[in-house]
Symmetry: none
DNA sequence: GGACATTCTCGGACTGTCAGACTTTCCGAG
DNA sequence: CTCGGAAAGTCTGACAGTCCGAGAATGTCC
């Protein structure tokens, strides 16, 4: 490259102006006399000057903050649910912790609000957020699908930590259930299992637009060596329902959320992991040691906060024109409910 | 909030040292007397000092380059493919245009590189990017799955505009095929179609980990009123293959990529849209007006550039610890290949 | 005791921005 | 006619850190 690239300072020297006048002119500040501004822009163009946006952003942040690392507050909004299971409460805690840690790393503070408790309505939340100068809102999952259309979204950037909710349609971040189940099934196939069986509560599949079931069938269809076991997807299932399905279809490994199924398998003569395997689809739900998927709620919370803060940094409030979903694959967790190697022939 | 955060300079004042000695000590430079280094580290820990990685990276680059490196540039890397279909070339152009527009909005410039053309190897690309001071790399889709592990990713932030490639595992952004097909099928059901049929080239499903097929079956399984038509997923299909499938299973609406199928349907007696419907799964591939899915490549490119620049703004280079995929649902495009209302009873 | 080498530390310089301060000009009031 | 305040236009201090040349202090050798 020939010689140093032109900078604000070199332009300023050439023009006989201060670097601030040049900076202001190029940024369109009204402080600068229009004739001076035109002169600066022309010289910049002719010199091939290109602003460094990273340097600009850093210097701006540095000047604005006056040395304090504090940049703002974002809100984590939870929904009061009396019957929330304990594992879900732990999931929410992990999400919030991840969001908090990442927010802190990025110079933000995270404050929690619980809608539906202590008279906190959506309208009241709106008022509080506005009066507190909070513009970023990260929404924790809710079993019932809350309606947040009443928040004045022109003032807020928001992100769901769940699959898309649409009321309103915001960006979202969640686990990649589809891809994680496919990867888990591949792993099980590598361990020599040939008849995996999936059991699900219907609502758990529905709220993910059937991704568990879809991934399961997609895997079966695409692997000739896998003998298809119809998944058990029931409104609500009992030991009887499960056992009937298990005896009838004889899967050699079972995947599902409820680890109580291990007892039912063993009551029916199976020995885990000697004769059959078990994999939890969410290790936060396990009640005993077993293999399974860690949906990484802490990482999801962190990514959610990160994406939200990036929106704030771009000054993007309002309902996004193209809402997107960011997914992170679950992490496989080994456990004592699987054989450790394929059976020898 | 309590006072300014401790900085190198404030630590230096407290310790009676220069800011350079403090900086060197904290970075482990051997220039500093070990006893002094220990003193500095202890004081930093006690003061709660947190280094700003973005400032550090910027200053380092500033000093190293002496103003000669160009900045504020990100690279769009394409792969030379002789047999790339015309629609794919248009898809790539849309991706690049979206990335370019968004980069410009965010104060960056996008430059294109084509690996495999004019002797541009991955190693040579690495050298060029480094010498040009380019740290952000957005990777356009490739039909063959390229291996970019040879880039020195410690120096670059990268993002794929395709489904995850894993060589190496970076963040990615792409269409939400699964969710888009589900939504399309729901739309068709609302128009009164009861026997949708899907035809795909096998590779097109495989490279999306079977999401087209999975969404199709998930929809069938979850809607009692839909009579199941087995999808046609073939290595390569001809008019004969398609026609046999069409005649045998009698779908009332066909979804697929290749609009030539409309001719084949009509050759078999169907009248589109009078008796049968057709939906394109990628309107960039259509050769005639029809309904279908706009995969929004321009928006995907824009989002990709945005996510990449956010990584640069956080000074995050290297292979991410938790690579994520960001998906945007396709936009439905109405067209003359569907009935405009459900048939009256 | 002077010359030289080594070790340890310091300070200039710096892809841009913010906000207060300074200079110049203009105009109304006395 | 003079003076003071306001506005317009521009300038300067300061700066989440790093690199590298240079200076000061110390030790060794002749």
């Amino acid at each position: 490259m020939s010689g140093p690239a032109p900078t604000l300072r070199s332009l300023a020297r050439t023009l006989g102006l201060s670097r601030t006048t040049v900076s202001d002119a190029l940024r369109g500040s009204l402080r600068v006399d229009p004739a001076t501004a035109a002169r600066v822009k022309k010289a910049a163009r002719e010199a091939g000057y290109r602003r460094n946006p990273l340097a600009g952003a850093l210097m701006s942040e540095l000047r604005r903050s006056r040395g304090t690392a504090f940049r703002g507050v974002i809100a984590a909004v939870d929904f009061h649910e009396l019957d929330r299971p304990e594992y879900a409460a732990r999931y929410h805690s992990e999400l919030a912790l991840g969001a908090q840690t990442r927010a802190t790393e990025l110079g933000f503070k995270l404050e929690k609000f619980i809608v539906g408790r202590a008279g906190l309505s959506v309208q009241r939340l709106d008022s509080i957020l506005q009066s507190r100068g909070i513009h970023g809102v990260i929404l924790l999952p809710a079993w019932g699908e809350p309606d947040l259309s009443n928040l004045d979204w022109t003032r807020f950037a928001g992100i769901y930590t769940d699959y898309i909710i649409e009321r309103p349609a915001l960006h979202s971040v969640c686990s990649d259930h589809y891809r994680s189940l496919l990867a888990a099934l591949q792993r099980l196939a590598a361990l020599g299992y040939t008849r995996p069986g999936l059991f699900l509560q219907k609502h758990q599949d529905e709220r993910l637009q059937y991704r568990w079931g879809a991934a399961f069938r997609a895997f079966q269809e695409s692997h000739a060596g896998i003998r298809p076991v119809p998944p058990l997807i029931a409104e609500k299932f009992s030991r009887e329902t499960f056992t009937a399905w298990f005896q009838r279809h004889k899967p050699d490994v079972v995947l599902g959320h409820n680890t109580e199924a291990i007892d039912w398998m063993e009551a029916g003569g199976a020995q885990v992991p000697a004769t059959h395997g078990f994999v939890s689809l969410n290790v936060l739900m396990k009640t005993r040691p077993c293999a399974g998927l860690d949906l990484l709620p802490r990482q999801l919370g962190a990514r959610g906060a990160e994406l939200l803060i990036a929106q704030l940094q771009r000054n993007e409030t309002g309902i996004p024109e193209w809402p997107s979903t960011t997914t992170i694959p679950a992490r496989w967790m080994d456990g004592p409910t699987l054989r450790s190697a394929p059976p020898s022939k």
